[in-house]
Assembly symmetry: C2
Homo-oligomer: 246 residues x 2
């Protein structure tokens, strides 16, 4: 290095491959609701390492194709689901020498919520199979590749805690829904029942949904259909939802 060096001359001589740098990827926990069950998307790996094992969808950053991390994630999401994501949120980043046998690696995890409109899942060269599986069953009976069980657990935890004080579950439903459907979604994630009246008071006070004027007709009293207002996708409630008192 000489004293005549400028920023541009420095950059001309800079070679990224001189250094040991970690592999960097993104991984996604994509939630949806199917058959009154919270499910996430898993892929069966078609390539080494961990070939044949179940894993979260994800992949390496493509330095040519992607301008930002969000581009990487959007590209991967489109590859698997081909569908518009309702909510996308970065959760955490994991890095260590041992989490991937190929070497020091870093992965950035994302949580995505989509409404299940009979999406057609598409496998590609990196995955033999792409399926929705109930999250509770994965946590009980599946051993995921790499540290994906940990990543999954942290994303699920994030979802569960955000459900206590935000309107996030709206992103798991279609564009119109009844209040009972919305409440059921909250309860599914929280793991306990909540009071109908309090729940509706919260929604009303938050002013985040609007009546569509239409009704959902079933074999009982029809229910009003609602749609989210623009601000509703992640509204923070003033207090968090409490479970039943003892």
């Amino acid at each position: 290095m000489n004293s005549q060096e400028t920023e541009s001359s420095f950059l001309e001589n800079y070679n990224i491959h001189e250094f040991d740098i970690p592999l960097t990827s993104v991984d996604m926990t994509i939630f949806t609701i199917e058959d009154d069950t919270l499910k996430i998307l898993l892929v069966k790996r078609a390539q080494f390492p961990s070939k044949g094992e179940w894993a979260l969808p994800g992949g390496f950053i493509n330095l040519k194709a992607d301008d930002t991390l969000n581009d990487t994630v959007s590209r991967k999401l489109k590859e698997k689901t081909g569908v518009e994501i309702s909510h996308l949120e970065q959760v955490a980043t994991y890095g260590s020498a041992s989490r991937d046998p190929r070497g020091w690696s870093v992965t950035i995890s994302y949580m995505a919520l989509i409404s299940n409109n009979n999406i057609t899942l598409t496998a590609d060269e990196s995955s033999e199979e792409v399926v929705w599986l109930p999250i509770e069953e994965i946590q009980k009976n599946y051993q995921l590749a790499f540290d994906h069980s940990t990543i999954l657990a942290e994303c699920y935890q994030r979802l569960k805690s955000k459900v206590q004080y935000t309107s996030l579950p709206i992103n798991l439903l279609p564009n119109t829904f009844t209040l009972s459907e919305l409440q059921k979604t909250f309860e599914l994630i929280l793991g306990y029942g909540i009071e109908k009246k309090s729940f509706r008071r919260r929604l009303l006070a938050a002013d985040i949904i609007a009546e569509t004027g239409e009704m959902r007709v079933g074999s009982n009293r029809p229910a009003k259909l609602y749609c989210p207002k623009s601000s509703s996708k992640e509204h923070l409630f003033q207090r968090s939802i409490e479970g039943p008192r003892e």
Copy 2:
């Protein structure tokens, strides 16, 4: 690729340098309180790129020295402050082709809280100067290197929102403190005054601090000294702190 390939033969032939991978670093927003002011640590860069500009402390992962991301962060923290960190939390990860002139890069940002016990800051080969600066002044009058202004803003935002519903500010104080000192710390970060009685009720209900039995003597009525209980470093309050009513 042949059909005889196994996981171990795959790994033998795997060369990380065949691929374009991004540079990966960590950056830290280290908060402390000095002279009743919230300050963070900045370094003046001694090397290209952005030589001479102010930046958040941080650096690249050392694949030989670090086993995990936390090792990288701990190492960097020790280099600059030489001090035990009270609270450390990953905040967000930024990646893009343009954020660093050396090429596609990813940085993982951390927020750290430490109590200011007259720490001696130490510069090293990568930084000419290491100083505590008031965060408000940085945001007004400083243009930081790379996207560090954005990273700083997001860490500050994280701190401010967590102060509303957790006991995080305890980590900015020494091991013993009075309730008034603690309240002042909350108010400093929140940016508004809070009610003494409600504040104390919350702390009592949370059961996160204990009387030491000692008193702080000044030129007025002496105040009881408290110390944190083990669970107190990030206790979640049942409701968030509200500002004054209109």
